[in-house]
Symmetry: C2
Subunit: 339 residues, 2 copies
DNA sequence: ATGAAAGCGCTAACAT
DNA sequence: ATGTTAGCGCTTTCAT
């Protein structure tokens, strides 16, 4: 027997000790049948005894499947993304898959490099929170299953995507403020905001129109993208307040943005929700911790993650999704900030 | 040429098209030398043309190294862990490694299953935020480099670990409150808190002793572990306040716990920091967002992550770490909650 | 400078 | 029910 602990035990070793062929060991390990109960017992016992772990590289090489999925996302630091990542890992591990995670920092180059690496590592499929057209074309040139999350692909109709209806949620939050009596509602956003947040602002405008409230471009507050969101948005909000525009409601395009908005309002001693009501998106655990606790849009990351995984796993097994674009419904979670 | 897009291109294909042997292709791809400049050009051109990506499973099988690291942590949902994970991924990707992430939910069984899977996938090493002795023994029976993060191994002196000095930070926060004039300081903790938080409470007690403040077990407030921390700690804090004990400072053992503490104090209309000062640990971005912004202990996750990775990569390349236990210094970040 | 061939650990097709 | 063997794509040793 091999006593060298640096040498990994292979089915060859197991076969020798158990007194069978490697084919039989393989069959037992994979429950393929074609062996006696007695053989099975013996092989299993030897495997246990030696703590045998099958070499997945060899298996992957042989079978061209790795039982590993790649996930490319902008940054796991963002609690919204990390919650998606969490539920993805949960779902995949329950289905026998492992997860390779890559942060792209929203850079198209990193995304493509990550994608290359993942393909090289023989992942069976890729989940992607992206939005860059460059990446998209690169992906299309590869014959590997990909599912987009929270981003619609630009041209490629045959990449499935799981997302929220951002225009609708933009309408939802704005209408909620209107129903609470707000008539002077600002929308606070980054100056170079991404796809989702652009759509949210469109929803905001649609809601105003629907309720015959005249949109005023001054109320589309843009903060600078070159510093942390919570500071930039505080500055932008503060500057807006200094101008003396009437204000009774704010839609903050993200939670960190909302933090800045709250800070500016607090600084001006404007009571929330009495004078100004504030609502935001994503409903991470921290919405609850702010003062006052924030009304927010729950985007159901668990369901998004599970849906994305099941579409991807189906795709891997040759099943085309029923529809390529799937909208996961969002819902309003109301808290004190809009009471 | 192979036109079947489902067939992955191999160096065999490249060799054929470039009119060289597969050995030469391999040499070019790995910069091993032993080919003419002209050959190199031609091979590279063909690789580019066909978008060739090397099959890492084959390479791993052949070389017994995958350039992949496994990370086992309790839950990526926790912003403290996700920030460690982020910096780990950043460091590793810069060094040519990929990252397989596994959530263990603090279950020893899951940890061991994850570890098995990672070993099977031929990871070159494992980073682990754990603390379970069962897992530790299992790890020791394997000859694969492992580095612990934020947890000291129980008996195994030869698993390197990178952690903070929790007793010291426990002292630090308590002494800060004392220096701000607090004399009736509570420590709020879970009833079954883990290793780190136990040490923090020991530091708290040591600081009191050092300053001749008599410790009172009533001030070691325990919240129930069966509901979300922020609610459980709010209840526990509220109950404590109802008892009428004098109170001017609170050490909350985690950020979510601090959120509950703030909520209870707010509910009782006790002004922070005027009447009661509050301090906590981990200093995630959300400390800043609470009302008032929380003083907290910065544990320097970036440095922890980088140190852990460099020790692990060194370990993989046969270099023993200088010391097996490395303490990453923490620092106090002061904000309004203790002004 | 280049090629032929062995072998990493595994599965599956084909024997028996 | 079990064994023999080819071959997945790659690196590397040994020829030339």
């Amino acid at each position: 027997m091999v006593s060298d602990s640096t040498h990994n035990i292979s089915i060859k070793d197991i076969a020798r000790v158990a007194g069978v062929s490697i084919a039989t060991v393989s069959r037992v390990l994979n429950n393929k049948g074609g062996y006696s109960a007695e053989t099975k017992m013996r092989v299993k016992a030897v495997c246990d005894q030696y703590g045998f772990i099958s070499n997945m590289s060899a298996k992957t090489l042989r079978e061209s499947r790795s039982n590993t999925i790649g996930l490319i996302l902008p940054s796991i630091l963002n609690p919204y993304y990390s919650s998606i990542a969490y539920y993805i890992e949960l779902f995949l591990s329950e289905h026998g898959y492992s997860l390779l995670i890559c942060n792209s920092d929203n850079s198209a180059e990193k995304e493509m490099a990550n994608f290359r690496t993942l393909v090289g590592k023989q992942v069976d499929g890729v989940l992607m929170i992206s939005g860059r057209n460059e990446t998209e074309e690169y992906i299309m040139s590869r014959s590997i299953p990909v599912v987009f999350i929270d981003r619609k692909p630009g041209k490629s109709v045959d990449i499935p995507c799981i997302c929220s209806d951002n225009i609708y949620t933009g309408i939802l939050v704005t209408e909620h403020l209107i129903s609470r009596g707000c008539r002077h509602i600002a929308f606070v956003n980054g100056s170079h905001s991404g796809f989702n947040r652009k759509e949210r602002s469109r929803g905001y405008l649609q809601a105003l129109e629907r309720h015959n409230i005249k949109a005023d471009m001054n109320y589309l507050i843009k903060y600078k993208d070159n510093e942390p969101v919570q500071f930039a948005s505080e500055v932008a909000m503060y500057d807006f307040l200094q101008e003396g525009f009437p204000l009774d409601g704010v839609v903050a395009s993200s939670e960190l943005c909302a933090a800045g908005v709250l800070a500016a309002l607090n600084r001006m001693n404007i009571p929330i929700p009495e004078k100004v009501k504030v609502i935001t998106f994503d409903n991470t655990p921290y919405s609850l911790l702010m003062n006052p606790p924030l009304s927010s849009v729950e985007r159901n990351t668990k369901i998004m993650a599970e849906k994305a995984c099941s579409v991807l796993l189906g795709f891997i097994n040759g099943k085309q999704p029923d529809q390529y674009i799937q909208i996961i419904p969002s819902s309003l979670v109301l808290r004190r900030s809009t009471e």
